[in-house]
C-alpha cells in the first residue's frame, strides 16, 4: 500500500468564497478521502428568535446569507403567513417572484465568475461579474440595497415597482440576454475550459439519489426535481420546465446553471406581462400559534423552513435546512479518486454557501 499523507485544505484559501476546512487524505497526488469540518462562521441566528419578536426577526432571517438573502426572508415570511392563515395579495406574489428570479440570476452569474477564477481564467471572471453589476443596479433602483433588500414583510412586500420600471426591466432583459450569451458560449465551447470541466467529479444518478443531493447538483445527474413546480408565490401561473442534464460531471452542472440563467430571464418577462394591479400588503393582527414547513427553491437547491409559534410575540423555534448542507455528502463522494488540482473546482461545483450552512 502506498504511503498516505494528509493535506489540510484550510479555511483560508484564495478560491473559497467562505471558510470550510477539508482534510484531504492523499496517496501520491490522488485524493482517497476527504474529512470536512465546518463551524467557522456560526453566529447563533436560530437562538436569536428568543430575543427578537416575530416581526423583527424578518430582518435577521434576511441576513443569514448575502447571496441568497431575499429567499431566506421570503421563506420565513411564507411560513409565518401560513401559520396565521393570511392570504397575501396577488401583486405581492408576483413582485416576490420577480425579485426571486433576479436573485437567481445574480447568484448564477457570481458562481460562473468564481468557477472561472478557480481554473485561472481571470478575464472571464471579471466579465461575468461586470454583467452581474447590471442586475445589482436593478436591485438598488427597486429596493434600495444591492445585497440585502429589506423589502419582504409578513403580509406582502414593503415597496412597489412602478409601471415604467417594469417596462425598463423587461427591455433590459432583452439586451442582457445577448451580452450573457457571449460569455456563456465561452464556458460551453472553449477548449481550455472544457479540459478542466469534462469528466471531472462524476456523480451517477443512483449515487445522487442515495446521498440526497439537491438543486443543480442533482439535476445534472438526471434527477428531475425542482421545488418551483409546487406552485408557491406566482409560479403556478408561469410556464417553465426544470432543466436537466445527464452526464453528471462538472460540465453538466455548468450547463444546468447556464440554462437556468436564460430560464430566469424568460420567467421575469412572463411575470411582467401578466402582472395584476392591486395592493401590496395586508395588515396582520394578533400573534401566530402553530407550526409549519415551507420548501423553496433557492439558487443552490431546496431549502426547508420550519417555524413553531406558541401564541406570544416571541417564536418557539426556527430551523433552516439549507441546500449546501444537503450537498456536502455528495461533495465528499465526488472527491474520491480526483487529482489534487481538481479539488477547488469540485468544491465550487456544489456552489458552497457556508454562511447559510452554519447560521
Amino acid at each position: 500500500m502506498d504511503k498516505r499523507t494528509i493535506i489540510p485544505f484550510g479555511p483560508q484559501h484564495p478560491v473559497l468564497p467562505e471558510p470550510i476546512h477539508l482534510d484531504l487524505v492523499m496517496e501520491d497526488e490522488v485524493v482517497v478521502q476527504a474529512i470536512p469540518q465546518i463551524g467557522y462562521v456560526h453566529r447563533g441566528l436560530e437562538k436569536l428568535v428568543e430575543k427578537k419578536d416575530f416581526q423583527q426577526y424578518t430582518f435577521v432571517a434576511e441576513r443569514i446569507c448575502g447571496i441568497c438573502s431575499f429567499m431566506h426572508g421570503m421563506g420565513y415570511c411564507m411560513s409565518v403567513e401560513s401559520i396565521m392563515d393570511v392570504e397575501i395579495p396577488e401583486r405581492a406574489k408576483f413582485l416576490r417572484t420577480i425579485w426571486s428570479e433576479l436573485s437567481r440570476l445574480h447568484s448564477h452569474l457570481l458562481w460562473l465568475g468564481l468557477t472561472a477564477d478557480a481554473f485561472g481564467f481571470e478575464s472571464l471572471f471579471m466579465h461575468s461579474w461586470r454583467l452581474r453589476e447590471q442586475v445589482l443596479d436593478i436591485f438598488e433602483q427597486t429596493t434600495g440595497g444591492r445585497v440585502i433588500f429589506s423589502v419582504v414583510d409578513i403580509g406582502g412586500v414593503r415597496k412597489d415597482i412602478s409601471e415604467d420600471m417594469l417596462k425598463k426591466i423587461a427591455a433590459l432583459m432583452d439586451t442582457f440576454e445577448k451580452e450573457v450569451k457571449e460569455i456563456t458560449d465561452v464556458f460551453l465551447n472553449d477548449a481550455s475550459v472544457k479540459s478542466r470541466l469534462v469528466g471531472v467529479g462524476v456523480l451517477t444518478k443512483q449515487q445522487a439519489h442515495d446521498l440526497g443531493a439537491v438543486g443543480p447538483m442533482a439535476r445534472a445527474s438526471g434527477i428531475e426535481e425542482d421545488m418551483r413546480t409546487q406552485g408557491y408565490a406566482a409560479y403556478g401561473k408561469i410556464n417553465f420546465k426544470p432543466i436537466v442534464a445527464q452526464s453528471g460531471d462538472s460540465y453538466a452542472r455548468t450547463e444546468v446553471r447556464i440554462g437556468e440563467i436564460f430560464q430566469s430571464m424568460d420567467i421575469i418577462k412572463q411575470c411582467i406581462a401578466i402582472m395584476p394591479e392591486g395592493e401590496i400588503k395586508v395588515k396582520i393582527k394578533g400573534f401566530p400559534n402553530g407550526e409549519y414547513f415551507t420548501r423553496l427553491e433557492q439558487p443552490r437547491g431546496e431549502v426547508i423552513y420550519y417555524v413553531k409559534a406558541n401564541g406570544s410575540k416571541f417564536l418557539d423555534r426556527v430551523r433552516v435546512r439549507t441546500p449546501t448542507f444537503a450537498n456536502i455528502p455528495a461533495l465528499l463522494e465526488t472527491l474520491k479518486g480526483c487529482a489534487l488540482a481538481d479539488v477547488p473546482i469540485l468544491i465550487l461545483t456544489i456552489d458552497p454557501c457556508i454562511s447559510c450552512t452554519e447560521r
Binding site: 427578537k52 416581526q55 423583527q56 426577526y57 430582518f59 435577521v60 478575464s123 472571464l124 466579465h127 461586470r130 438598488e140 433602483q141 427597486t142 429596493t143 434600495g144 440595497g145 440585502i148 429589506s150 414593503r158 415597496k159 457571449e182 460569455i183 458560449d185 465561452v186 465551447n189 472553449d190 477548449a191 481550455s192 472544457k194
Partner: protein
Amino acid sequence: MSILSITKTLFKSLLHGPYTEKYPYEKKVNFENTRGKIEINMPECIYCGMCERRCPTGAIKVEKELSKWSIQRLQCVQCSYCVEVCPKKCLTMDNQYTAPSFDKARDEYTNA
C-alpha cells in the same frame, strides 16, 4: 470545440474603455430609492417610543423626561421599520449614506 473564443469580448472591451468609475474623484450619484441614513423632524416628535420598540437592532433611544431622541449610527441597519411605524411621520430616510465614524457615539437631537 474552439480556442480563444473570448477574443471578441476582449476586443470590444479594449475599444470601450474602463467600465468602472473613479469613485472618490468623481462623485457618486445615488438612486432615489437607495437606503441611507435616518433623519428626524424634531419639533413633531411626541416621544411615544414606538420607533425604539420596533427597531430590530436597538439603535434608537427615546428619553421623554429629557425631551431627547438619539440614534447610534453604527448600529442602524437602514431597514426603515421606524419610518413605517412613526404615528406623526416625523422620521424620513435620506438617500445618502451615513458618514464614516470611529467610535460608537450616538447622534442626539433634543427639543429642550
